[in-house]
């Protein structure tokens, strides 16, 4: 199949960007979206140009490294999939595609389609963990965890940190990302001792990193390649309210 690509090219964080047009010719419908870009890049190099930079690594939808907008939609048209998992059979011969990086103040462009998502690491750093130093653990069966809780925690823990939620949000909020971690750890008995300081600290860091506020649009849930529910945002808000009306977050 043959397509026309309009790709955002930007030489560096401070450079001005613009769309450039490239033909993508004789593309196999069995190739993935990133493999299609590989083919285009090989031709750009052969023609003496500089290939399109895009982040990627595992190419099986789990590392969270890849991600950009295709026709304005994070990770392209397939629900529950990262862009590396989208295959070209989902497109028609002759399609025109606009490809651009995540757009958010908190995710500055590094080059072309690659952005800096370190702000996510700093949100985790602020409290997205259970303080359990190596060697301090009791036997794994010491505390049973109801299956439903474990499953519900797992559904939040599936977050791959790709940033699609931020890119989809009209406010560029990181609420779904933060809520997924707050939900994952807060649903488990091991996560209870730090439950309320965790939510306060993570939300404060999220705000400090220039993510926008959540106004319950729900676009994040639709864009999320792991289909993480906005219900976790409700849980975060509940925990945050509880923490804020207490004298000290973790004291009942």
């Amino acid at each position: 199949m043959n397509l026309t690509l309009h790709v955002w090219r930007q030489a560096g964080p401070d450079a001005e960007g613009r769309f450039e047009t490239y033909p993508a010719q004789s593309i196999s419908e069995h190739s993935s979206f990133l493999e299609m870009l590989d083919v285009v890049n090989e031709r750009i190099i052969a023609d003496g140009g500089e290939p399109i930079a895009f982040d990627h690594d595992c190419r099986e939808g789990i590392c969270g490294m890849c991600g950009f907008l295709v026709n304005g939609v994070p990770h392209g048209p397939l629900p529950g999939a990262t862009v590396c998992q989208v295959h070209m059979r989902h497109y028609q011969d002759g399609d025109e595609l606009w490809i651009e990086p995540w757009r958010a103040t908190a995710f500055p462009v590094i080059r072309d389609l690659a952005v800096n998502r370190s702000a996510f690491d700093r949100i985790i750093e602020a409290g997205g963990y259970i303080s359990a130093a190596t060697g301090s653990a009791p036997d794994a069966h010491a505390v049973p965890v109801p299956k439903e809780n474990a499953e519900y925690a797992m559904s939040a823990a599936e977050c791959i940190g790709c940033g699609a939620c931020v890119a989809a949000c009209p406010n560029a909020s990181a609420m779904l990302f933060t809520a997924a971690k707050v939900g994952h750890l807060g649903l488990l008995p091991q996560g209870q001792p730090e439950r309320y300081t965790r939510v306060v600290d993570m939300v404060a860091t999220m705000d400090g990193e220039h993510f926008g506020h959540c106004t319950n649009h729900g676009a994040c849930q639709v864009a999320c390649p792991k289909e993480i529910s906005v219900d976790y945002i409700a849980r975060l808000n509940k925990d945050l309210r509880t923490a804020k009306i207490r004298k000290s977050p973790n004291i009942r």
């Binding site: 052969a46 590392c63 490294m65 963990y129 750890l185």
Partner: protein, 637 residues
């Protein structure tokens, strides 16, 4: 090159306990005076960095990805073994030890394997304490399943994302230490040189992948947890960025490389779809618990699978191995699949593939049960292959997946360069010639959480470190070497792309040093690889410059190392004139096609010393003794 494995004396059950007592300790208040560099942030590296920081050491950690959370450990699907015996089915530390030594086809070091089995217990405890949401039963206790070649249920899992969840536990512990100021994290940095001063590893030189800056980092010890080298085959299940560079550069600085020919080909990957294929996607081998593997009995049978009646199907694994059937170990299942394809009985449009069929399991258990067990894997398959596996059998084919070889390490996980420790897939230590399913996560975390933090402490406590800084001549020389090399890549301006040459290297290795090898083929490869390397240095085109994000330049550096490493791999495969585990030499097989070991001449680890690019490497041996698991021929019949 001296190889002293430093295996503690005494009965195998007591070695680690005794060794922990014998090791020197660093006083808690002195730990902050010691600095450690950890390269790699996967299960081994991330766990080691976090734990050493918790203990009080000054840690710097490096990864080439944009966040430590993305290391390739994240892609492991199936699970992690531990001898908890929570199912009461007769498991024990000794059984896990025994299974791992046997599964490795008697080419691993017993003492290390026993320690691994012992530590498996604490890993699960640690992960649960961190909030890893393992699968549970209704009573709230942990669920287990049987996995790839094991006859007990000892595998813990978190849906099909066990590696991801374990890595996130480890990453979160690491982030806690970054927040506490005990770990300095360097994302998007690639290690390009190891710096050895007065015979000891004292630092690394890195390239900042965003700015292109070449930087030196000094420490008292260096730990490499940089994963395996399966991407030497170009097509593998590894992430695109996985590479041999860190351990290869260390090898060139004097670290012995052990058993590079031991590579694992995973039996259940999706078959390649065409020339554009950039990597292969693994389907968890847990699928083999309920799926039946078959090909048509007739060569060139192009009928759709549902029109081939049962008596015209060859369920070859069940036929060859009546007791293990479709759960035969990875190396055996892979080789048999290739045999079927080579006989012209492969399936799918390319004829490269075999069926993995769930028809009978769906009839027996119902679609709901299969959906509950494998739903996400079935969805993944449907998405990639464009076919519905509930109705049409999956097509699978073997793919390079894991590499058992790596830098040689002693019982302390220290390489032949003092101060250079190696953990996880990057070392050679625990899996012998073949790794059992769900054992990679276990090894990475055992090394990272429980072994390296203690053995490094012992090394540091022995002291004797001169104060040096990055002005030292060795650092200057290493920086210059990196700058020179970068300049060279950018100046060649030839006609072939990096990917094009990498694909050719991969094809050579897959053909001659893949699932089955023979002397003539390996000699052919040993002639082709240097020629291709020469072509690379004359005819590669690396566009752009070195002052910003340049992914072609990164790939060129990694490929240049693969082009040297691939030759060593073939040397080792040619030298190891026997079949063992994942290393199958066609000259050495039983009448029914099983691997035939030669314990007389090859019950050793081959450790190679670098002598120069294009020069024959020099072999050293670590003899392996089996005092607890008697040498026996593996049988899965």
């Amino acid at each position: 090159m001296e190889l002293n494995a430093r295996i503690p004396a005494g009965p195998i059950q007591d070695k680690w306990t005794k060794h922990r007592f014998d090791m020197k300790l660093v006083n808690p208040s002195n730990k902050r005076k010691y600095s450690v560099i950890v390269v790699g942030s996967g299960l081994a590296g991330g766990a080691a960095a976090a734990t050493m920081a918790e203990l009080g050491y000054e840690v710097s950690c490096f990864c080439f990805q944009d966040s430590p959370r993305r290391a390739h450990s994240i892609a492991a699907q199936g699970g992690i073994n531990a001898a908890k015996n929570y199912q009461g089915d007769g498991d024990s530390v000794y059984r896990l030890f025994y299974d791992t030594v046997k599964g490795g086809d008697f080419r691993a070091r017993e003492a290390n394997v026993y320690r691994l089995a012992e530590l498996s217990l604490a890993i699960i405890d640690q992960a649960v304490a961190q909030g890893v949401p393992f699968a549970r039963e209704y009573g709230g206790f942990l669920a287990n399943r049987s996995f790839g070649g094991a006859q007990v249920s000892r595998t813990f899992y978190a849906r099909g994302q066990t590696g991801q969840q374990l890595l996130l536990g480890c990453y979160q512990a690491l982030e806690r230490q970054i927040g506490a100021g005990k770990v300095t994290m360097h994302n998007r940095h690639e290690m390009l040189e190891l710096v050895v001063v007065d015979g000891r590893a004292r630092g690394i030189v890195t390239r900042d992948l965003i700015s292109g800056r070449i930087e030196s980092h000094v420490a008292d010890a260096v730990v490499l947890c940089t994963g395996g080298y399966a991407n030497v085959f170009y097509l593998s299940t590894n992430a695109k960025g996985c590479n041999v560079t860190a351990i290869w550069r260390a090898h060139k600085k004097g670290a012995g490389f052990a058993n590079p020919c031991y590579t694992q080909i995973h039996p259940t990957s999706l078959p390649p779809a065409g020339e554009h294929q950039s990597k292969l996607t693994l389907m968890s081998e847990s699928l083999r618990n309920d799926g039946r593997v078959w090909v048509p009995k007739q060569q060139g049978d192009t009928r759709p699978p549902d029109q081939i009646p049962d008596d015209e199907r060859d369920y070859y694994l069940e036929r060859y191995y009546p007791s293990f059937g479709n759960l035969a170990p990875r190396d055996i299942a892979s080789r048999r699949a290739k045999e079927m394809v080579d006989e012209g009985r492969g399936v799918g449009p390319s004829g490269i593939g075999v069926y993995l069929d769930f028809r009978d399991a769906i009839q027996r258990l119902g679609k709901e049960v299969i959906e509950e067990r494998y739903g996400n894997l079935f969805d993944m398959y449907a998405n990639i292959a464009g076919e519905n596996p509930y109705e049409v059998p999956m097509r699978i084919y073997p793919a390079p997946h894991y590499t058992m070889g790596g830098l040689w390490v002693d019982y302390n996980l220290m390489s032949t360069i003092p101060g250079l420790h190696v953990g996880g897939e990057a070392n050679f230590s625990d899996h012998g010639a073949n790794r059992l399913g769900a054992s990679a996560l276990m090894q990475g975390l055992a090394d990272g959480y429980f072994i390296l933090p203690l053995t490094l402490g012992d090394y540091l406590a022995r002291g004797g470190f001169d104060k040096i800084d990055t002005d030292h001549a060795e650092f200057r020389a290493a920086e210059e070497a990196v700058a020179e090399r970068t300049k060279k890549f950018l100046s060649i301006n030839g006609k072939r792309t990096v990917t094009d040459i990498h694909r050719e290297l991969g094809a050579i290795l897959w053909e001659y040093c893949g699932m089955a090898r023979n002397a003539a083929g390996l000699k052919t490869a040993l002639a082709k690889i240097p020629a291709l390397r020469e072509e690379f240095w004359e005819n590669v085109r690396v566009p752009g410059d070195g002052q910003n994000l340049n992914q072609q330049l990164e790939h060129a550096g990694r490929l240049a190392d693969f082009l040297e490493f691939g030759e060593l791999m073939c040397h080792d495969a040619l030298d190891r004139d026997e079949s063992a585990g994942g290393h199958f030499r066609e000259e050495h097989q039983t009448a029914d096609g099983e691997a035939l070991r030669n314990d007389q001449d090859f019950a050793h680890a081959s450790v190679w010393e670098f002598k120069g690019v294009g020069q024959a490497p020099v072999k050293h041996r670590e003899e392996l003794t089996f005092e607890n698991v008697p040498l026996a021929t593996r049988s899965y019949k």
